[in-house]
Each structure stands twice: as structure tokens, then as C-alpha cells.
Symmetry: C2
Subunit: 252 residues, 2 copies
DNA sequence: CGCTTGATTGATTTGAGTCAATCCCAGTGG
DNA sequence: CCACTGGGATTGACTCAAATCAATCAAGCG
């Protein structure tokens, strides 16, 4: 199994031939370049290693690896996670195109968690040293880096609230809404989409058992809230979902 | 109740008369100044608003407040938290002297969570704009800012693992070890200390009920692992505690 | 010295986990 | 082209860890 994963990871990919600049990247408004002038964007563009590619279920990095820089998903999907000795994975986050991951390495220049591609995935790397130097001279880039880090932290905090205070069905509803709104932001349907992750990963993210995920999906379907077939999800009653998670006090 | 909290918060404090520079602050090796030259330290020192003070159980900021900058605890203790509509608090973190909080405001210049003093607390504020400008010219300061942010994220990730995968007794053991090692780092005893937070807050941090916290403390005591009386904790068997949490795969 | 608030203890309930079969599809190879 | 197969997903039966409900108990305070 491990050998197979390694073999896959080492394959050359067609996508690695692609040359795409931030300038023309459809994700730039969601990604690090957001808010930069054309000139500054150009500087950023030159230091990016891209695109790299990983097959489904292959590791991108793991704890102890040297921290290379920020990773930005271009296509596919990535999960970051920690594990218990017993093997259970706590998924820390799912990362969709335009989203950044790898910030866990900032503390001491070593990655602290695992990152794995959930499907065939391509991504850019922004080497940290070069990015840092550029930050010194482009205030807008610093702002954007702060913004992204702050966003990551707030996502983690929402996740903590979910794991610490929400029931299993609230968790699943929150999860569906999060995926839905993120697909929407990327120009896809908010109510009909294909989940990029397995039931196992959903369970790992929500801190519940796979069987519970299965049962809850079924229950949601029976209530007419969603229609689900394998990874194909159709949200039939978005209001009901929102109602279910309307428990986290919103800032006024 | 609210009125009382407000009144307390508005009182002038003796500590606010104190003038302490980073230079002579015993916490500087744990705090933002770490790794800065004397000259750079001086620049940093000039932009710090300090010291501010809050009485026990008073709010320092809340969701929607304007993001002012990084907060560094000087004495006392602070909790940051989110709440459900129903009132339950999910504690995001406990912040001891020398620790930084308030980074949740980085995403969009508004605070996203609550911060409250758990006891009479003094702290410094590092205004964000000034700190950012200084970051442009002091690479070491940028490094330290990255380090602190990375550390925050990794703390949150460990917290996610705790909430998602650990049993109630593993959670409490993890919590005790975390507090112990942080006190130790500050030059206090690792095995005998006074908890700065209530049972309610511990429960809120660990995602379990207060009653469970109480029962577990009792159970730990009966097993000879700790001795506990109200907030006074004596750890009798540190190895046993470590054994209980030896479940998170360590980076090799 | 009563009062309020936090902590403890006990009795009972329950949401979600665990264990154990299937089921079902995607991919493989004949 | 279709049978085979292995891993993910589903379903059901049963268990249990922790929540909830309900009294005390203890301590700090006005």
C-alpha cells in the first residue's frame, strides 16, 4: 500500500507541464494575490513554484518535514490532519482550490501535521524566505498574509466550537453548509455538488464515527433536507440546515 | 451582573502606574521581543501601550470590537472563547503571562471571539499598524511574529485533536500537563500550582461537563496521580499523566 | 451570619460508539 | 463484455461513556 502511494506520487503529471501565472489564474481573487497591484503581482508570480501535482491518497508532507512555504491548492482537494498512536485521524481542515495550507510549519520551520491529496490535486508553493523578503517591501502583501493567517485561525476556532459544543447532527449540518458556501464562492452550485472526501474523512473532521455519518446522512435525507447518493449531494432545504446550526452567537 | 462587570473594568488600577520596559521585563524571552537586538527592542518598546489592567471576570474585548493589535499578558490570566446561542462557552485558549492573544482580529480587523480576564490581570497592547510598519524593517521581528502565529495554530490543532479524538480522562490529563509545562517554563513549579481558572472554564476548554471534571479530578486523586483541593493542584505522578496522553503520534 | 456562587456527589438517561454483517460500486482481469 | 473482488458505505443490535437532572456541600463576601 505504502509502496503504491509512493509510486503514484513520483509519477510525472500532465498538469506539471502547464504554465499558469497568478495574473491569469481564476483563483487569484481567493488566493494570496488578492489586493495586489499588477506590478506587485508580477514579483510574487516570479517566486512561485508551480504547478506541482499529487495523485489521490498521496502524502504531500508529514510531521518533521522541512517547512518549505505556503501551499495554495489549484485543483483537487487536500486534507490536513493529526493522528493518535492508535491510528485515528483528526482532520484539521479540508482545502479546496484557492485555499492555502501548510501554515503549521511556521512555528519552528518543521511541518507539524500531515497533508494529503484527497483526489488528483495540483498546487503552487510560495517559498517562505522569498515570500518573507517580498513582505518587507509590499505592505499589501503583508496585509494579505495576515488576513489569510487570521482566517485560518478563525476557521480553527469555529472547528473547536463544533467539536466542543455541537451535537452530531449540528456538526454535519455545519459541515454541509461550510462546503456549500465554499463551492458557491468558487462559482459552483451551492446546492448540488460532489464531496471530494470520503465518509471516513468526514467522520475524522467532525470527531464522530463513520457509522454515525452514514446514519445522519440517511436521517437528513428522510427529513427531506438533502438528497445524497454516494458523494453526490443535493441540498433541498438550505433554510432547515441553517436553522440547525443557528446556535453559534453571531457578532452583532 | 453586567453593570458590576462594567464598573470593575472601569476602575483605575495601581498596576497601571507601573512603568516597565520590554528591556527589563522578565517575560521578554517568552514574548514578542524574543530574539531582537537591544536597538530593535527599543523601537518595539516605544510603540507598546502598557500596562493595562482588568479585574477578574471582566471582558477585555468581544466579537465585533475593532481589532487594536496583539495583546501580551503580563500578569494574571486570560481566556478567549466563543459561545453558542444557548450560552455555553467553548474556551479557545487560556493565556498565561508572556503569552499573546487577540490574533483572531487579524482576518478582517474585527475581533471574532471574546477575551476575558480570569483574575486580576495586566497586559500590554502592541498596536497592529505600528507593529506592522516595524515588521517591514526588522526581519527578526517578522520571524518572531510568524513564530507566534504558527505556535497559536499548532496549539489550536492540538486542541482539535483533543476535542475530536480523546476521551474525557485523556483530555484532563493533557490539560494538566499543558498547564504544568507552561508554569515550569515561567520558572514556577511544574508539580504544584494554583489553577487560574474555574471548573466551569476547564469544562468549557475540554468540551465536557463540569460534573465530569469534578469526578475525574476525584478519580485522579484516588489513583494517587494528583492531590487536588479547590484550585490547588499537586501532581504526584507525572509519568502516569504522560502515559495517559501518549496517544498523539509524535513527529520523528 | 445568612446568602450567593461554585464545586461535589449521586441517580438516571441517552447520544453516539462499537461490533458485526451485509451491500454496493469501481476497478481488474479473464 | 462480464464475472470477480476488495474497500468503502450502509444497516442493525447492543453497549457504554458522559450528559443531564437533582441535591447537597463549602467557601468567600457583604
Amino acid at each position: 500500500m505504502k509502496a503504491m502511494m509512493q509510486k503514484k506520487a513520483n509519477q510525472a503529471h500532465l498538469t506539471s507541464q502547464l504554465k499558469v501565472s497568478c495574473d491569469t489564474c481564476s483563483l487569484s481573487e481567493l488566493c494570496l494575490p488578492r489586493g495586489l497591484s499588477k506590478e506587485d503581482l508580477n514579483k510574487l508570480d516570479h517566486l512561485i513554484e508551480r504547478p506541482r501535482s499529487h495523485d489521490a491518497n498521496t502524502l504531500i508532507y508529514q510531521p518533521g518535514d522541512k517547512f518549505t512555504g505556503f501551499y495554495a491548492v489549484r485543483s483537487g482537494g487536500v486534507k490536513t490532519y493529526l493522528t493518535k498512536k492508535t491510528g485515528e485521524q483528526q482532520i484539521l481542515g479540508f482545502h479546496l482550490p484557492g485555499e492555502v495550507f501548510g501554515l503549521d510549519g511556521l512555528e519552528n520551520s518543521k511541518q507539524r501535521c500531515y497533508a494529503a491529496a484527497m483526489e488528483n490535486t495540483s498546487y503552487c508553493i510560495l517559498p517562505h524566505e522569498e515570500l518573507d523578503s517580498l513582505c518587507a517591501v509590499i505592505p499589501e502583501l503583508r496585509s494579505q498574509v495576515y488576513h489569510i493567517m487570521g482566517h485560518e485561525m478563525n476557521c480553527d476556532h469555529a472547528h473547536l466550537l463544533l467539536l466542543g459544543q455541537q451535537t452530531a447532527h449540528e456538526r454535519l449540518a455545519t459541515f454541509l453548509l461550510s462546503i456549500s458556501s465554499r463551492f458557491k464562492k468558487r462559482g459552483f452550485s451551492a446546492t448540488s455538488f460532489v464531496l471530494p472526501m470520503s465518509r471516513h474523512d468526514i467522520a475524522g473532521y467532525l470527531g464522530i464515527a463513520v457509522e454515525t455519518v452514514s446514519r445522519l446522512f440517511k436521517s437528513f435525507q428522510e427529513q427531506g433536507i438533502i438528497k445524497i447518493n454516494r458523494k453526490q449531494v443535493d441540498i433541498l432545504d438550505l433554510d432547515k440546515l441553517n436553522e440547525m446550526v443557528a446556535n453559534c452567537e453571531e457578532p452583532k
